[in-house]
């Protein structure tokens, strides 16, 4: 899908809508569907992929049960209903109320088409009906169905999500939370989990973002009660400083010393946050919205750095945080908890030790060799384009820098939903990226290839993901 409808549904006020987004994407569901129709010839005519001809690549990925008429009916029926759903959801400030809104809408659909809906809940229902317009809608319907169940079936969720999550009604936010393990599969526990995580984050913020003055004041309050000086004049009483806790202290355990050491990191975080996505009004610019978003990003990164003294802050964390923040932007508390929750996933990538990232890059190289030996040979041996030159940024920043924001959200949908794990999927997508431009690479020399790979041309994301998925099935053959 080259174009995603990204509408600022959570902000009813038109002023706060990032204009660049709305202008660029277009705010019309119909136009998106029209574009969806135009996609099919592209895949069919793709000369790069001549192996298995397919009408709709997605059909091949999953079980080939024929699309039922009831599905189409459900999709068609759901279309007029989903449209009104979308504008209604903006007033919901937190994500929690949105669940009830969408589930209510879904229950409304039930009486109309009970049978098919019941079936869709239980069976391994197939994906979109042969790539025609209600593609998005049916996926949205399926996701909503899945989310409104009491216990979410993860396999099912992953399957649907790997096709791409539509940008409506906070679905992506919920799905990502589930996929990242932030929310448990049991729906009933969601509100308590959310409340718990949010209060945890609040507590972290209070503890870690205090400057030493406030800390000393707090400690004093607990130790000495407030003795109000009744005398209006006279020598001020002096009190001993405990544990060498004075601002110029050079002791390792002194809060002041730690504070000054932390300011260096905080300065770096500040600089990076200011540079995040300068083209997006959401993140940068003079709007108060941008400022508050930047402050929230900063707080999250600072708290994370303090909680993880092993990793602290690494340049690039801001880029990874940006899409997460954007998706969950209703509640900044959650991204922080999320970031700490799945640090295993992403922090392995940010692992600056040469062993971590080097091994991943060499795996990518190996992968390419398996799938396209000619290209591999040309790249690594003939033109000596070392994968480190381009793949480092691809892998560590999870492709956020290579594509525009909307596309990278789509790619992340696939990354997160794949049961093999994000790293495997990432490698496949990188490999697919290389294969898609193979003609240009084979024709180029070191300079032009490097230039091409470091400024990867914008392409059809769905096609890219389709190719990446093909790589998976090919490897198993």
């Amino acid at each position: 899908m080259g174009f995603l409808v990204l509408r600022e549904k959570k902000n009813p006020s038109p002023i706060s809508v990032p204009q660049t987004f709305v202008d660029f994407i277009g705010s019309n569901l119909d136009s998106n569907l029209a574009m969806a129709k135009e996609r099919i010839p592209d895949w069919l005519n793709s000369s790069l992929w001549s192996t298995t001809p397919s009408v709709d690549g997605r059909l091949h990925r999953f079980s080939l049960s024929p699309t039922t008429t009831t599905t189409t009916a459900a999709a068609a029926v759901s279309e007029p209903i989903v449209q009104p759903t979308v504008p209604v959801s903006p007033p919901a400030a937190a994500s929690r109320p949105q669940y009830t809104v969408t589930s209510q809408k879904y229950e409304f659909r039930d009486p109309i088409d009970k049978n098919s809906n019941n079936n869709s809940n239980d069976n391994d229902q197939n994906a979109s009906p042969s790539g025609v317009s209600p593609d998005d809608i049916s996926r949205q319907a399926q996701l909503l169905a899945e989310l409104s169940k009491k216990v979410v079936n993860f396999r099912e969720l992953r399957r649907i999500a790997s096709q791409g999550i539509p940008d409506g009604a906070g679905i992506r936010s919920t799905v990502w939370k589930l996929l990242l393990g932030y929310l448990p599969p049991d729906r009933l526990q969601w509100s308590s989990e959310l409340a718990k995580k949010r209060s945890e984050y609040k507590q972290f913020k209070e503890e870690l973002l205090m400057n030493p003055t406030e800390i000393t004041r707090k400690l004093e309050k607990s130790a000495v009660d407030d003795h109000s000086k009744s005398e209006s004049s006279g020598l001020l009483s002096r009190s001993q400083v405990t544990h060498g806790e004075h601002p110029l202290s050079l002791g390792e355990s002194s809060i002041w010393n730690q504070f000054f050491q932390d300011t260096e990191i905080i300065e770096q975080i500040d600089r990076d946050v200011k540079r995040t996505h300068p083209d997006m009004h959401f993140f940068s610019g003079d709007l108060p919205l941008a400022k508050s978003n930047q402050d929230a990003l900063k707080d999250i990164l600072i708290v994370f750095a303090k909680l993880n003294p092993g990793i602290r802050y690494v340049q690039g964390m801001n880029e990874i945080l940006a899409p997460l923040f954007y998706v969950f932007r209703n509640d900044p508390d959650e991204e922080m908890a999320l970031l700490s929750g799945f640090r295993d996933h992403f922090c392995k990538q940010l692992d600056n030790s040469t062993v971590g990232i080097r091994s991943t890059i060499s795996r990518l190289s190996q992968f390419l060799k398996e799938h396209d030996e000619e290209l591999w040979r040309h790249l690594e041996i003939t033109t000596k384009v070392n994968p480190q030159f381009y793949a480092f940024r691809w892998i560590t920043l999870l492709l956020t820098q290579e594509f525009n924001f909307a596309d990278s959200l789509h790619i992340w949908d696939t990354l997160l939903s794949d049961p093999e794990g994000p790293l495997e999927t990432l490698l496949r997508v990188c490999c697919a990226m290389l294969i898609l431009v193979r003609r240009r690479l084979l024709a180029g020399d070191f300079t032009s290839n490097l230039k091409l790979l470091q400024n990867y041309p914008s392409s059809n994301i769905s096609h890219l993901l389709y190719v990446a998925n093909k790589l998976r099935s090919q490897a198993s053959n």
Partner: protein, 189 residues
């Protein structure tokens, strides 16, 4: 949280060669936001040294200062507080608290930082607070030879000031602190 260093009466090179090494090791750049110097540095090298610690430097003239262009008094506002600086040799009797209180009312400041006596003092009266950081090098004064090196670091946070007093007693740095709040009506004159 603004850190303000109040220091003075070093008398380098006439009465002392340099700051005590223990003080020097603590005074590193990057921590302090403002420096208030009561005077009697006396030479330009000391001025430059203070400039490396913090670019925002305020000095008033002491009677032995070689740079004659420092002002006699200075006032500045940091956060919610108005601070005044005066070396103190102009105020007679030297170190007399009532006379200093008069100077404070004249300058209309909450905190008056003054020196010349080479003795640390922190005194509160109804007009405000008078702080004397003493002599940072322990230079002898007209009163006495027995002077402990001392200086003051103020942590200004809203309406509250925590004054950290650094003294070198018997070769060891001792730190005390003094807390005071500014009431909203205190500066109503």
């Amino acid at each position: 949280m603004v850190l303000v260093l109040a220091i003075g009466d070093l008398h380098i090179p006439h009465r002392a060669p340099d700051l005590p090494p223990k003080f020097k090791s603590m005074l590193v750049p990057g921590k302090i936001q403002h420096i208030i110097c009561t005077g009697n540095l006396c030479i330009k090298e000391v001025h430059d040294y203070f400039k490396t610690l913090c670019p925002d430097l305020h000095i008033t003239r002491g009677e032995y200062d070689e740079d004659s262009h420092y002002p006699e008094n200075k006032t500045l506002t940091i956060g919610q507080f108005k601070l005044g600086i005066c070396h103190g040799h102009q105020v007679i009797p030297w170190g007399d608290l009532d006379s200093l209180a008069m100077v404070q009312r004249q300058l209309d400041v909450d905190i008056l930082v003054t020196g010349h006596t080479h003795q640390f003092k922190a005194y509160k009266h109804e007009g405000g607070v008078v702080i004397n950081p003493g002599s940072a090098t322990g230079a002898f004064s007209s009163f006495t030879y027995d002077v402990n090196p001392s200086f003051v670091l103020m942590d200004i946070d809203g309406l509250r000031v925590v004054v950290y007093v650094y003294e070198l007693i018997d070769g060891e740095v001792k730190v005390d602190k003094i807390d005071f709040k500014k009431t909203a009506t205190a500066s109503a004159h």
